[in-house]
Amino acid sequence: MEAMLSLPLPGHMPCERCGASVAAEDAGTHTCDEERWLDFAVFQLRGEVAAFGDALHGWLETTRGRFEVFYAERTRTDR
């Protein structure tokens, strides 16, 4: 037979949107700080951000990538 546990709510829980720790009594009135939200959102995307860097460096090693680097450099020099 399956037993059930009823776990108590902790005194604080992170806001789902911005990740800030919110006291249970403030849960209804919490307002997200935009900077905290941005930090949290970027942290969630850290894997993709790191992967983008790797992918970009890999692409720059391809024939097309090397040409784009050459062309960008030439354009910059021409200015």
């Binding site: 399956e2 037993a3 059930m4 546990l5 009823s6 776990l7 108590p8 709510l9 902790p10 005194g11 604080h12 829980m13 992170p14 990740g19 800030a20 720790s21 006291a23 930090d39 949290f40 942290f43 969630q44």
Partner: protein
């Protein structure tokens, strides 16, 4: 303003103390807290005893002396007339206050400010600690390792000492810690969430340093906050 009363009584010290234990002490033990007594110390002197009584206020000391039950007990004791002197206390620091200060330094300097070198100053080489979540903590190096483990999992860790209670060579601190989960903890990948956790630390102090400790914190709440355990909703067992 606290006051120190010093009473010297001439006579055989052992007989005087025995008489006081029989007559005055039982009444004083019951009455003294009502009048703001802080401590009472009896010492042997060359010609008798001297009693050092520390009071929260001069008024409390007077009201205790005027208490009918105390006066009756003193009559029964038939003590010689004491020589009395009273002093205003300008500064006082107890072992308990020192113990609280050590605990506060662990929260503020070690956990919050990250001054890990302070650990060697606060913890004896023989230190042994224990927590249900982290097991045995051996020596200052073991405590440093514990702090580093949590600091690597939680960026910007801040700990506040909420309540401090000292008794004898033991001190208890209830604390609240906050941090952002940016590193792996107990195999749980970082979530970027801010967490707030409360706990209790019981420690014994000897020769000015921590020698023994027992800690417990809301590990379930921490796991709920980082999403490793469901929060609030019934969970299957």
């Amino acid at each position: 303003m606290s006051v120190l009363s010093v009473m010297s009584i001439q006579g055989n010290p052992d007989e005087l103390v025995a008489r006081m234990k029989e007559t005055v002490d039982p009444v004083a033990a019951r009455k003294a807290p009502l009048y703001g007594a802080i401590s009472s110390t009896v010492v042997r002197t060359g010609d008798g005893i001297t009693i050092y009584n520390l009071w929260e206020t001069e008024d409390g000391r007077h009201r205790m002396a005027d208490d009918p039950e105390i006066q009756e007990a003193l009559r029964k004791a038939k003590l010689p007339k004491p020589a009395f002197t009273g002093y205003e206390v300008l500064s006082r620091r107890t072992a308990g206050e020192y113990a609280k200060e050590l605990s506060r330094r662990v929260a503020e300097e070690v956990w919050t400010a990250g001054k890990l070198d302070v650990i060697d100053e606060l913890f004896a080489p023989s230190y042994r600690g224990w927590t249900p979540t982290d097991g045995e903590i051996v020596g200052p190096a073991g405590f440093r390792e514990l702090v580093e483990r949590y600091h690597s999992a939680f960026k910007d860790t801040k700990m506040t000492a909420d309540r401090l209670v000292a008794e004898g060579d033991w001190v208890t601190m209830t604390w609240t810690a906050r941090g952002t989960h940016t590193g792996e903890l107990m195999g749980i990948a970082p979530t970027g969430r801010d967490v707030t956790v409360t706990g209790v630390q019981l420690s014994r102090i000897k020769d000015g340093k921590f020698v023994e400790g027992y800690g417990i914190f809301d590990a379930l709440g921490l796991l709920q906050q980082v999403g490793a355990v469901p929060a609030g909703a019934p969970a299957h067992a």
